[in-house]
């Protein structure tokens, strides 16, 4: 009976011990992925920003500029691209909608971002674009890979349509979460006018004809939770100028937008809670389950060996029989 039990425990010990590396290095890389149907929105605000009034072509201080950013996974498009790419793909349709203090649209820039669901590496397919212009991204955008490393990454900038390093600047704690802080500076760069302008009748083409150009610089800051690779907070010190041409009435340049763009407080709280939850799920696959399984496996193996050793021990000799006293003859 003991030998049978020790064999069952041995099988269980091998099962548990084998499960540990299989979960960490086989299951986790295949299961950890961005779902193709992800939908998320984010509200950012620039309080006390400077905004160009297209009516007077003069920059003015405004109370607040709001940026609503939506990302929506297109599942059907992802499945279609997966058939040729041969890997799990996510297709994100994004919209950055900028609204002035009066609630009117300042700009709206759509984009389509296609990437590997596991590694966040860009996947190139028809439809990849920023504001209607076809692009071929390199680097990451919006999110870092799972198990983010303490190193610089290449980050795609949608305004310039270029990829530049985003530098790891240290480990910090943000609202109780350990995060890696990343920063990227895009120097003043000439960029395209948005296809959709805030004033009716004015188009990117009609502005371009005046010889006026649009320039942009930003300092992009991200606080990234390293287990999930998800930013828990982001900020941008963003400046835009219009330069030269006849549109500015002789002026060399005018500020189109300047502000310190920050995530709205309720979205920060929501994001931190969401990332904390997802972090636990990832840790379950990378740490809790593998280590738990390994420790349990070793314990069960010890128990199995102990039972086996007891089963093999020779049986104890029975109690010594009391010798009957021999009759004594006189």
């Amino acid at each position: 009976m003991r030998r049978k039990a020790s064999l069952i425990l041995l099988a269980l010990a091998v099962f548990l011990t084998a499960l540990a590396p299989l979960l960490r290095w086989y299951a986790f890389p295949r299961l950890a992925k961005i779902p193709a149907n992800q939908y998320q929105d984010m509200v950012l605000e620039a309080k006390g920003a400077t905004l160009l009034d297209y009516g007077t072509m003069k920059a003015r201080k405004v109370s607040k500029v709001t940026i609503v950013q939506t990302l929506k996974g297109d599942v059907a498009a992802a499945r279609r691209i997966e058939r040729t790419a041969g890997r799990d793909v996510v297709v994100w349709d994004g919209l950055s909608y900028v609204q002035g203090p009066d609630g009117k649209m300042v700009s709206e820039i759509p984009e389509r971002y296609i990437f590997d669901a596991h590694s966040q590496e860009p996947v190139h397919a028809t439809g990849e674009m920023v504001d209607g212009d076809p692009v071929s991204r390199t680097g990451i955008e919006f999110k870092w890979p799972f198990l983010t490393e303490k190193r610089d990454y290449e980050y795609f900038d949608a305004q310039t349509r270029t990829t530049n390093p985003i530098h790891y600047k240290g480990t910090r704690t943000f609202r109780g979460v350990k995060v890696y802080y990343f920063e990227q500076t895009i120097p003043w760069t000439k960029v395209a006018f948005p296809k959709k302008m805030p004033v009716q009748g004015i188009t990117a083409e009609s502005v371009a004809k005046t010889g006026t150009t649009r320039w942009y610089t930003t300092v992009r800051k991200f606080w990234v939770e390293p287990v999930t690779g998800a930013p828990v907070y982001g900020e941008e010190i963003h400046k835009e100028e219009l330069r030269g041409g006849t549109l500015l009435g002789g002026r060399a340049k005018v500020t189109a937008f300047a502000g310190d763009v920050k995530m709205r407080e309720d979205y920060v709280r929501h994001t931190v809670a969401l990332v904390k939850h997802n972090r636990t799920l990832v840790l379950l696959m990378t740490s809790y389950l593998p280590w738990g399984s390994l420790v349990l496996g070793v314990l069960v193996l010890g128990l199995s060996l102990w039972l086996e050793a007891r089963a093999r021990r020779p049986a104890d000799p029975g109690p010594a029989r009391a010798e009957e006293p021999e009759p004594v003859s006189a």
Binding site: I8, D41, L95
Partner: protein, 44 residues
Amino acid sequence: MRALIAAAAGLAVAFALVLTITTLGTSDGGTSPKPLLTTVPAHP
């Protein structure tokens, strides 16, 4: 010999379980019906 068979069985079950889990994977469902926002949401 019986110990070897028991160990092999444990190993086989571990492989089978992990392969099944990864093959089944996670369901992605369908595209969200929610629109790309052009208004400021009141809350997340």
